[in-house]
Symmetry: C2
C-alpha cells in the first residue's frame, strides 16, 4: 500500500494477508504521527485515513475508533514477548521464563521492536493529556494479560490453580506496564542504563518474586 518493500517470497501467510497487515501498520503510523503533532482530539479520523491513503470507510474496517488506530504500535512489544514465552520450554522456573522472554524481546536491536518502543514512548506522553488515548493503553494491557493467561497456564502445568495463574498474568503484565510508563517519563535510550529491559526485570522480580505459583516452580 505504501511501504514498497521488495516482494519477498519467504514465509508469511498470503499476499493479501501481508497487504492487510501493511495497511494496518500504515494507518497506525499515520495516527501516531498526527497524534504526536496535534494531539488526538485535534486529529480527525478523516485526516488519519487520508495520510494513510485509504478511505474513511476503510479506516473503520480496520479500527473501531480513532484512538484504537495506534493499538498495534502499543501491543507489538507485548506480542513479541508472549510469542517468545510460548516457545520457551519448561526448563527453568516460571519467573525465569517470564524474565528471559522479556529481556530477549527488549534487548534485541531489532528495527521493528525499536520503532515500536519509540512510538510507545511518544504515545504514552500524549496519553498523559488525553483520556481516550490512555484508554487504548489500558485496553492493550488488559488484552495482553488475557492472552498471557493460557501461556502462563501451560508453563505452570495442568494442575495449577486457575486463579493463581490469572494473578501471575496480571502481575507480570503490570510489571511490564509500570516499567514502560516509568521509562516513558525519561529520555533514556531503548538500550542504555534506564532501558525498558532493566526496568522490566526489576519490576518483574519485585512483583512476581513472591508468588506461590512462581516460587514452587513447576
Amino acid at each position: 500500500m505504501s511501504q514498497p518493500s521488495g516482494p519477498r517470497p519467504t514465509a508469511s501467510p498470503s499476499l493479501t494477508e501481508r497487504r492487510k497487515a501493511a495497511t494496518q501498520l500504515d494507518i497506525a503510523r499515520a495516527a501516531a504521527e498526527l497524534f504526536a503533532e496535534k494531539g488526538p482530539d485535534d486529529t480527525t479520523a478523516e485526516e488519519i485515513a487520508g495520510r494513510a491513503g485509504v478511505a474513511l470507510r476503510t479506516f473503520y474496517r480496520y479500527f473501531r475508533s480513532k484512538q484504537d488506530a495506534v493499538g498495534p504500535l502499543l501491543s507489538s512489544g507485548g506480542d513479541r514477548w508472549r510469542a517468545l514465552l510460548a516457545e520457551a520450554g519448561p526448563g527453568a522456573g516460571l519467573a525465569q521464563a517470564l524474565e528471559s522472554a522479556a529481556v530477549a524481546s527488549l534487548s534485541t536491536p531489532d528495527d521493528v521492536a525499536n520503532e515500536g518502543m519509540r512510538w510507545t514512548r511518544g504515545l504514552l506522553r500524549a496519553a498523559r493529556h488525553d483520556p481516550a488515548l490512555r484508554a487504548v493503553w489500558y485496553r492493550v494491557n488488559q488484552e495482553s494479560e488475557e492472552k498471557l493467561q493460557p501461556v502462563v497456564a501451560r508453563l505452570a502445568g495442568p494442575d495449577a490453580d486457575p486463579l493463581e495463574v490469572r494473578l501471575v498474568a496480571a502481575a507480570a503484565t503490570d510489571a511490564i506496564r509500570v516499567a514502560f510508563e516509568t521509562w516513558a517519563t525519561t529520555d533514556a535510550e531503548t538500550l542504555g542504563e534506564d532501558s525498558p529491559a532493566r526496568l522490566v526485570v526489576r519490576c518483574l522480580r519485585e512483583l512476581t518474586g513472591g508468588l506461590r505459583l512462581v516460587r514452587n516452580g513447576r
Copy 2:
C-alpha cells in the same frame, strides 16, 4: 433532583454539592438500568438523560461519554476502601492494612456498598459483550491505582522507593479487580462463602505477600 431524602443537616459539604452528587448518582443508576435492559449500544445518551430527569446537555456536563455514566457505581467500592486505608494508623504492616481495609469496606451490610456491588456484577457481565463498557472498568481501576499510590506511600513511610510503592498499588488494585471479576461470574451473595471479601483476601495475600516493601513492614 429525584431522591427526596430528607434534608439532613448532618455533615456533607454544601447543599449544592450534595445535589450535584445526587444528580450524578441518578444518572449513573439510570444508565446502569438501561445498560442492563437493552445493552449499552442499544441505549442512547438521550434515553439515559431522560430517565435521570436532566437534559442531554447536562448529561454531558457530568460525564464525558455515554459509558462513563456508570463510572461512579463501579468506583464507589474502591473509594470506600481507599478512605478506610487513609484513616488507618501505621499500627500493623502494610499487607495487614490493605487487607483490613478491604474486609472492612466489603463486609459491612451497608446499603450503599451493597448496591454498588450488585450494580458492579451486572455491569461486569454486560461488559463481557461490550468493549466500551470494559474500557470504563479499566479506567476506573487505573484511576483507583493512581489514587492509591499516595495512600500506600504514607503507610510505607517517607523513605520508601517510589517505584516499589507504585508496584504495591498496582498489585493491590489488581487483586481487587481480579477478585471482583471472578465473583461477577458466579451467583454468590455479597456476603456468603464466595463473597467478594473472601476472594479479595485470597488475591491480596497471593499478590502482595511476597513484595519486599510489604514484608519489611515499616
